[in-house]
């Protein structure tokens, strides 16, 4: 199977490149923290009410941070036309999609791992619950699956920073809705049982949006 070594090579290349500049991670982290802080200013509520809106705030921060991170995914491939270099390699176009998606997944999970404790601090909520972590993981996979293909598309339009959020946010709205509901349940102490319907939506989304973009990605980057 020549597929996975190539995919991992692409993902590793992205991670290595990012480790050099730390461009994506730093800007996305700062942005996410800013979103959290602004929400705190905007909604000056009593602590118990803050708890009500906390899951929503968290996922707004993740969604916008996600857009920022995903926007960066294909920019390095535009410089020096590296995407063409990848297309000339003896591997299917789908490998580029999966490789880039894995790279973005890594970055997003890293950012989320830092944001969650900050969120816990600002909102006085215990976040180290397995339920919340699983929800975050599953939802992020969905974000990245859709965001990667849209990022490849947006980078080829005349207003890439504008096009990606407009495409991305409505499409992933089911994830955001389900993640907020599930997070609220998790933070409220409900066990796995109460979260099943929301988790199944996120899971169904993940499966569908790993398959469909996989099939359609070659059409986005072809010339």
């Amino acid at each position: 199977m020549k597929f996975w070594p190539r995919v991992m090579a692409i993902a590793w290349k992205d991670i290595l490149s990012e480790l050099r500049t730390k461009e994506i991670i730093s800007s996305v982290l700062v942005f996410a923290v800013l979103v959290l802080v602004i929400f705190d200013f905007a909604f000056d509520l009593a602590p118990n009410l803050m708890l009500e809106i906390a899951p929503g705030v968290l996922w707004v921060a993740f969604a916008f941070a996600g857009v920022l991170a995903l926007n960066r995914a294909f920019i390095p491939e535009k410089e020096e036309n590296c995407l063409e270099g990848l297309m000339a390699c003896p591997v299917g176009r789908e490998a580029i999609y999966v490789g880039k998606a894995l790279g973005s997944l890594f970055f997003m999970l890293l950012v989320e791992a830092v944001i969650l404790p900050i969120f816990a601090l600002l909102f006085n909520i215990a976040v180290l619950q397995p339920e919340l972590i699983v929800v975050t993981l599953l939802a992020t996979v969905g974000f990245v699956a859709v965001g990667t293909i849209f990022s490849a598309l947006a980078v080829n339009t005349r207003a890439r920073e504008l096009v990606l959020p407009i495409l991305f946010l409505p499409i992933v709205s089911p994830i955001i809705i389900s993640a907020v509901k599930a997070s609220a349940l998790a933070l409220g102490g409900t066990g796995w049982g109460g979260m099943t319907s929301w988790l199944s939506i996120i899971l169904a989304f993940d499966v569908i949006f790993m398959v469909v973009p996989f099939l359609v990605f070659p059409y986005v980057i072809e010339e």
Binding site: A159, L167, S173, P174, K181, I201, F209, P213, V216
Partner: protein, 220 residues
């Protein structure tokens, strides 16, 4: 030739529908006269869904066959779909005001329609921001495919969160005979209207394309 048949057919059906909606069918005893908008709201929602389905299929066919005709079909259908989605929101609003007292409410169906509206707006934004024709058609097809696949999931997620919307009366069998008949005629009328608009818009799109290629030929 075909548009004329469609024009005749839709005119007939629309007149029949209007007659049935405003004269034939009795007023609903629970919600009053405003309930009649149901006979527009439901067909309009059906047509929007049909339109986006056509965009989905036309997009796939384009990617396989690369015939620009299919891109024209996809784009024309999406345009009609967007207009009809706007109509869903408007008719929904008109109903909401007297019945629930507000112009807008974040209930499941309306919110899903809003998200649908945003998805297909993004379809046109992508088209607007890509200069090359071939690439535009390809990208639009991709957005049309991903967007349509998302529609059921959006509906599911939102419906699970909130429901203030009157439940699907049709499927519960709670519709009186005359109401059902009116609804079906109305659906048929709007479908005919959709096909008419689609045929006209496709012809327009083909003419646009021809003019563009003539202009380019003159430039060379």
């Amino acid at each position: 030739m075909r548009p004329r048949i469609l024009l005749g057919l839709s005119t007939l059906l629309i007149l029949a529908a209007l007659f049935m909606v405003f004269i034939y069918v009795p007023t609903d005893k629970d919600t009053g006269i405003i309930q009649r908008i149901f006979y527009f709201h439901v067909p309009v929602a059906w047509v929007a869904f049909l339109a986006f389905f056509v965009t989905f299929v036309a997009g796939i066919v384009y990617l396989v066959k690369r015939n620009p005709f299919w891109d024209i079909v996809a784009s024309a259908s999406a345009e009609i779909g967007l207009v009809f989605t706007t109509l869903i929101l408007i008719t929904g609003s008109i109903w909401a005001r007297p019945v629930w007292g507000v112009w807008w409410t974040w209930d499941a169906r309306l919110t899903s329609s809003l998200v649908l509206w945003l998805i297909y707006l993004s379809y046109f934004i992508v088209r607007a921001y890509v200069s090359e024709e071939e690439r535009r058609a390809r990208f639009a097809a991709v957005v049309g495919i991903i967007g349509f696949v998302d529609v059921p999931i959006v509906a599911l997620a939102i419906t699970l969160t909130r429901t203030q919307h009157p439940s699907a009366i049709i499927f519960e069998g709670g519709l009186a005979g005359s109401m059902l008949a009116t609804l079906l005629v109305s659906i048929a009328a709007f479908t005919a209207l959709y096909l008419l608009f689609l045929a006209v818009r496709i012809h327009l799109g083909e003419d646009e394309r021809e003019i563009k290629s003539l202009k380019e030929a003159m430039r060379e």
